[in-house]
Symmetry: C2
Subunit: 342 residues, 2 copies
């Protein structure tokens, strides 16, 4: 069985870990490929940092800080402190010492001419994430956020990481732009693992700045529209709020309500002949929303309207409280994919 996921950082990483757990405990033999968002990537202190790729790699490889959800466990921050002593900006960037080694290896290989996909493969040789991790593109792209300044006419764009980390997404975003996205080419393997998949899953990653950016790489949306595999998504919005992160601030910028239903409508049904939005047609064959189990409210009211729209939708427990709970969500996603297979 071949399963392909589009992923951002922590949400995609933890969902994939649950999926692998489900496959292992169920004795299902599968090749899993993860197409990782690289819009978050940033060159900082001369180091090429790929936050989402690293979150997937560390989470699946057993090196992630479970507490922070990003970066390494048992991390220290000596380098960061020293850089601050030199007065080097940006001081808001959380550069860990263990993490620094990863970035040094990556930067050195990139500078030597290796594409990011080859570099990622080399890094994964150590971490053995159990998936084929592919950056969405080998080209240099960066998500920038357009914001208004306090004064009229001071609109400006800043790197997503600065908006996210430094400003904690508190500056109202007017738009997200994948700089370099227009001319970016999918990395080797990206279109193939979509085309040749038996199932494509969209984990509960940020629909705007994570999965949304993967979809902006020319060819990816078309590949999702044309693959024989069912495409099933898991709502990152539970009970009207993002489970983690600040997806609401991102959704507001693109005029999408922070509801499980609105996000599915934004992705759009794949059966629709016409584009759901201006950007080339829907991509979903199925959608999972939260059934109200646990502390968060139910989104089951989305099931009927979305199903009527052409996105068969099921309400199931969607809180990734631990690996077992996450594995159960992945199992539900695979089951839905089987049921909607055309």
């Amino acid at each position: 069985m071949r399963i392909t996921l589009l992923a951002g950082g922590i949400g995609g990483a933890r969902f994939t870990r649950g999926l692998l757990h489900h496959l292992r405990t169920s004795g299902i033999d599968a090749d899993v490929a993860v197409i990782g968002n690289t819009g978050d990537d940033i060159r900082v202190f001369g180091l090429q940092v790929c936050p989402d790729l690293d979150s997937v790699m560390y989470t699946l490889g057993g090196g992630i800080s479970e507490e922070r959800g990003w970066g390494r466990e048992d991390e220290t921050f000596v380098v960061k402190g020293e850089l601050a002593n030199y007065g080097v900006e940006p001081t808001w960037f959380g550069l860990g010492d263990r993490d620094t080694a990863t970035h040094l290896v990556r930067t050195q290989m990139l500078d030597a001419g290796y594409p990011l996909s080859a570099v990622t493969e080399a890094l994964c040789a150590r971490w053995q994430p159990g998936v084929r991790l592919i950056p969405m593109t080998d080209d240099r792209v960066e998500t920038h956020v357009v914001v208004d300044g306090e004064e009229t006419g001071t609109r400006r764009a800043l790197h997503f990481q600065e908006w996210w980390i430094r400003y904690r997404a508190s500056l109202p975003a007017l738009a997200f732009v994948l700089v370099g996205g227009d001319t970016a080419k999918p990395a080797p393997g990206v279109l193939e693992v979509i085309a040749e998949a038996d199932v494509v899953l969209l984990p509960p990653s940020n629909p705007v700045v994570s999965i949304g950016m993967v979809l902006q790489v020319p060819g990816v949306r078309e590949a999702l529209r044309s693959t024989a595999a069912p495409v099933v998504g898991v709502s990152p919005i539970v009970g009207g709020a993002p489970v983690r992160g600040m997806a609401d601030a991102c959704l507001a910028a693109i005029g999408v309500d922070t509801t499980a239903e609105a996000v599915a409508r934004h992705y759009g049904p794949r059966v629709a002949a016409l584009p759901a939005g201006a950007d080339g047609g829907g991509i979903l064959d199925g959608w999972l929303v939260h059934d109200g189990t646990g502390s968060m409210a139910s989104d089951a009211s989305a099931v009927d309207p979305l199903t009527a729209l052409g996105i068969p939708t099921r309400a199931v427990p969607l809180l990734m409280t631990d690996v077992e709970a996450t594995a159960a969500i992945a199992a539900q996603a695979l089951a839905l994919a089987e049921d909607v297979r055309r």
Copy 2:
């Protein structure tokens, strides 16, 4: 008063620290410039590392590890350990975490187009070493060591750092080559601080791979030959052995005995009209050797023959056991310079 020194790593750094202590406690107002060896520089893990410049900067700025004599105090080695976990070579290079920040700042500035001299000035803005620290050249140069392999015909060259750190200078050196030295230009200020100095001092740095490499930068030897300032050296060899480091292994390669007298003869008297060696004439107006105070044997037997050769030589206590002892050596060097001033 303007004092200029040519320096390698620990020997030059500690001597300069003693000199500054002497100037301060004696109320002597002086501008001190240190021309640092950059032949030891190495690009490693994508970082540009300048061991000798950093030793001077850290020692004079209060950040050096007194125990190791190189790198930072309270240093940790997390990055190094992680790089080893990735299987990245070279594993023999002692990259500290605090040190990594220095290298990141330097590499980023170099990549942005700043010359090494400007980068060094920027780093010194934090450390305030109390001297003007100038790299001998802004051009990329590297000292390589020619060695024989175990088999006949397997002669090869390796970077000085690899020979020094990895092999602890145990591979017999056939030659030291400053790769890039032929076409290197002195960094801005190098020739000026020699020409305009009131005194030039050669601290007890390695005469082959430290001061010897500074002398190989085209124009430096000529500047020393033509400056109006007296040029006084301090023997790095005491009682027939290097005080620290492995200068004997370096001297053997160039056919110079490990004695205070032989090193002075190698530098050569400046008064000689003809070259002392094949490389452009002598540079010394005066020389300090050890008088036997403390645990090491006396080199006083060198005084008469060297003085007769045209290098006025004095035997004084030369062990840099602490800052005060080192300050006394510096005072002796300045006194000798006054006495030999032409």
